[in-house]
């Protein structure tokens, strides 16, 4: 089962990378070939948010059960989420250079992803500052939940400050996806492929962390 999943991830990601780079795409006003970043940037951003909320979910589970297994999961989600968050920032920033003319200009979307990076950073800083395992699990869980309840406020705040130049108003008007069918297929398989890749990496990461944890407790 695990092997089939691994091969499936491999095939989908390979297909997405090849067709995402080589397949011709329809002409989108003001975006053109730069729209290809969508196949990579959107899944990365989606995963960094998904991982953030999964980390919060496992934090809640940990506080309820006091089972360190959930803390390991929560930590692994945060680590992978941080990785994908950096990738989303990098791809978005590269795209911004060629579309808006600068790598970073504090567009509302850039501000929000910057805050997500800050939260991940603060979470790791907190974890490294606590020695005892139970305390670390407890306090970082509480912090993850507190951070997660304040994040939704940005949905209301950001539109009040500056208007975004982020292109979902161009491709995605009124919540409808205006991509043609070939683009849509690649996009959907990119989303599923990268999400599967994330789950596969998460599984590995959790197992590694568990081995590390056992090694530490054997040494004591």
């Amino acid at each position: 089962m695990n092997k089939i999943f691994t091969w499936l991830v491999f095939l989908i990601i390979t297909g997405v990378i090849i067709s995402g780079i080589a397949m011709p795409i329809p002409d989108i006003p003001a975006l053109g070939d730069k729209a290809r970043v969508l196949y990579f940037h959107v899944p990365m951003s989606w995963i960094s948010v998904l991982a953030f909320f999964m980390s919060m979910w496992y934090s809640i589970r940990y506080l309820k059960t006091k089972d360190l297994d959930y803390d390991i999961r929560s930590y692994s989600c945060a680590q992978l989420g941080f990785l994908f968050c950096i990738l989303a920032t990098a791809t978005g920033s590269l795209w911004a250079k060629f579309s808006w003319g600068s790598f970073w200009n504090w567009d509302p979307r850039q501000t929000s992803i910057f805050i997500l990076l800050l939260i991940y950073g603060a979470y790791f800083a907190l974890r490294s500052a606590i020695d005892s395992e139970d305390q670390r699990a407890k306090l970082s869980s509480v912090y993850a939940i507190i951070a997660a309840v304040t994040v939704p406020f940005f949905v209301f705040i950001m539109p009040r400050i500056v208007e975004s130049l982020h292109p979902d108003p161009i491709i995605n008007t009124q919540g409808k996806i205006n991509m043609d069918s070939s683009m849509l297929i690649v996009f959907i398989s990119a989303l599923t492929g990268f999400t599967m890749l994330y789950l596969w990496m998460l599984n590995l990461k959790v197992r590694i962390e568990k081995v590390n944890y056992k090694k530490l407790s054997l040494n004591d």
Partner: protein
Amino acid sequence: MLLKNSYLVFKKDLSSELRTRYVINSLLMFVLVTISIIRFAIGDEKADNEILTGLLWIAVFFTSVSGLSRTFVKEEEKETSVALKLSTGSDSVIIGKLLFNSALTFSLNALILFLFVIITDYQIKNLSGFLLVLIFGNLGLVSASTIIAAIISKANSKGTLYPVLSFPVLLPLLITVINATKLASLGAETDKLFGEIQILVSYFIVVTVASLMLFKYVWED
């Protein structure tokens, strides 16, 4: 019972603070230093309200960052937290600490605002709207800082960790409150600020409820 115990925790913090001046003296000096740095940085220039509001909030944010964590850190450093745990439940501790931190923040911010207006010639056109925004902004600031102070007090590098942890959590509040106070100081009507006040009130409620629910995990071993 809960309210009475919370009030007792508040009273205990207040009287121990008045006895030792553990926080107040250093914070008063901090406020004076910050405001005079702002004064010397501006010099005789005429700064406009956009910049002055930002400077005011820098003073407010860093004063609360250096002051509000003390309530919990003190309990750990002086090893009084065990006695407090024995005396009362976690709910009354967090409510008492919230009350104490609110009293501290409101009095310090009144002082900061007073000094700031005198020193920098800061004109507030809609004073009632400005104060309303300031009050709700401070409530949210206090509730988020207090729970993070509780988390910090159990960690190793308390001083440096506190701004790192509180900044991302406080950012939605800070962006809103800076924007709203700027608008109010430029003379926006109070009902134009209603949207911002809504965000501030809901932030305060959400964070306070989350703190009340989560505090027992931080407090109890």
